[in-house]
């Protein structure tokens, strides 16, 4: 109340302010404006209704819903299936691309040193070598232990490809080379191989000559088919010369 009394003077002044009246045309102007606003609203509503009707007509023309209502679900299903197919097709494309590139890269890596034609050739060679060896074996009749290169040895290409031979194979080769050169000392080492494998020793000169020829052939095969160290080759040659 104190606040009200404090500002009593100014409050009285504000209360005494002349009251502004609306003009005489206020009601008429207001009615005109209301009519205008209503007409605008009705115009908008009419426009909306007309556009709706037009849309309905278009839909009816397209689908013929009034005459053929069954077309609506059928059409919608077709559209959905079409969309799904497109989606699936696109997703497949997207998934395939990296796989193809991966496969290509793998092929590039693997196909560089060996091709199918290259792998087939050694097999043929092996077969030919095996046949030749069999013939030679028949000739020598195993007076000397035959160098079993056919089963254990690989083609030159294969050997080159392989960084190291498996231990069993290398041992076998070494053993075989030892049997060739040291006939006297062979018995000591022959224990590893076994006496049965050594077979009978050559006795006649002819037999010795034929043996030498076979050994030479065998060594040449070894040179051709294997990448042996120079020391090994020298040792083989020495043994042949001694013989």
């Amino acid at each position: 109340m104190n606040e009200e009394e404090k500002y009593k003077e100014i409050r009285d002044k504000l209360k005494k302010l002349p009251k502004i009246k609306a003009s005489e045309n206020f009601n008429i102007n207001l009615k005109q404006k209301i009519n205008l606003a209503e007409s605008k609203i009705t115009g908008k509503e009419l426009h909306k209704e007309l556009t709706k009707k037009r849309e309905d007509n278009l839909i009816n023309k397209i689908l013929g819903s009034t005459t053929r209502p069954w077309l609506i679900p059928a059409m919608s299903m077709i559209v959905i299936i079409f969309v799904i197919l497109i989606f699936v097709y696109k997703t497949r494309d997207v998934q395939d691309i990296p796989i193809i590139t991966q496969e290509k890269s793998e092929q590039q890596i693997t196909s560089a040193p060996t091709t199918t034609s290259e792998t087939e050739k050694p097999k043929e060679k092996q077969e030919q070598i095996a046949k030749v060896e069999e013939k030679e074996d028949k000739k020598t009749e195993t007076k000397m232990p035959a160098v079993k290169t056919s089963g254990t040895l690989r083609s030159t290409d294969e050997v080159r490809q392989a960084p190291t031979l498996p231990p069993a194979e290398t041992d076998n080769i070494k053993v075989q080379t030892k049997t060739k050169d040291a006939k006297g000392t062979m018995r000591e080492e022959g224990e590893k191989v076994g006496t049965d494998e050594l077979g009978k020793m050559p006795e006649t000169k002819e037999e010795k000559k034929s043996e030498k020829s076979t050994i030479k052939k065998d060594t040449s095969k070894v040179k051709m088919k294997l990448i042996l160290t120079e020391e090994e080759i020298k040792s083989i040659r020495d043994s042949v010369e001694k013989k």
Binding site: E3, Y7, I10, R11, K13, L14, K15, K16, L17, P18, K19, I20, K21, A22, S23, F26, N27, N29, L30, K33, I34, A37, E38, I41
Partner: protein, 198 residues
């Protein structure tokens, strides 16, 4: 349909709007008759322009006419109606300020010479003096900040209750009271300055 026997003069505002919501145009006309002067006066004191006040008042009635069903019998009709009027006035002033950068405080009293002022029994000298004083007060009101101006007009010119003002301005009751006092203090200072200048 309007009831011919109905005496709208006796009806309360809430009853009138209820009738109008049932498409009773006479009820709307009664609302217009009751509120047009109040509304024009309120808007004039708030904006300081006679033409604008009439236009805004008419716009408020149009809003009421078109959105009559939005009123719910929760608040007083006068509160709801003043809120609409104040919102429209604020948006109107915002639009106006965007168009022209002329300040509201540049109020020219001579521009509003043809005001339809309520006739009071006064001699011409007294009347001339009161007109000059009312112009000064209006000038002071126009120079107030928007929040103070609204609260002063609603409380000290339109003589609305604190609760109603609180609802119209959407501020707490305590804020209304404190803000009114601050507005009065500012107005007092402004009037002093105006009197000194003249």
């Amino acid at each position: 349909m309007p009831d011919n026997k109905r005496n709208y003069k006796i009806c309360s505002d809430e009853e009138l709007i209820a009738f109008f919501q049932k498409e009773d145009i006479d009820a709307f006309n009664e609302i217009v008759d009751r509120y047009k002067d109040k509304l024009v006066n309120f808007i004039f004191r708030y904006t300081g322009s006679k033409e604008e006040s009439e236009d805004i008042a008419q716009e408020t009635f149009i809003k009421l006419y078109l959105n009559k069903k939005l009123y719910r019998d929760i608040a007083k009709f006068s509160t709801w109606f003043y809120t609409i009027a104040l919102n429209i006035t604020r948006t109107y002033k915002k639009k106006e300020s965007k168009i022209s950068t002329i300040s509201i405080s540049d109020y020219d009293p001579e521009h509003d010479k043809d005001f339809d002022i309520r006739s009071t029994v006064r001699n011409p000298e007294e009347e001339a003096g009161s007109v000059v004083e009312s112009d000064y007060i209006q000038k002071a009101i126009n120079s107030l900040e928007e929040n103070f101006r609204a609260i002063i007009v609603l409380r000290d010119i339109e003589e609305l209750e604190y609760e109603e003002i609180s609802e119209i301005l959407d501020i707490p009751l305590g804020t209304v009271k404190s803000r009114i006092n601050r507005a009065r203090e500012k107005l007092k200072d402004l009037l002093k300055d105006i009197y000194r200048e003249n």
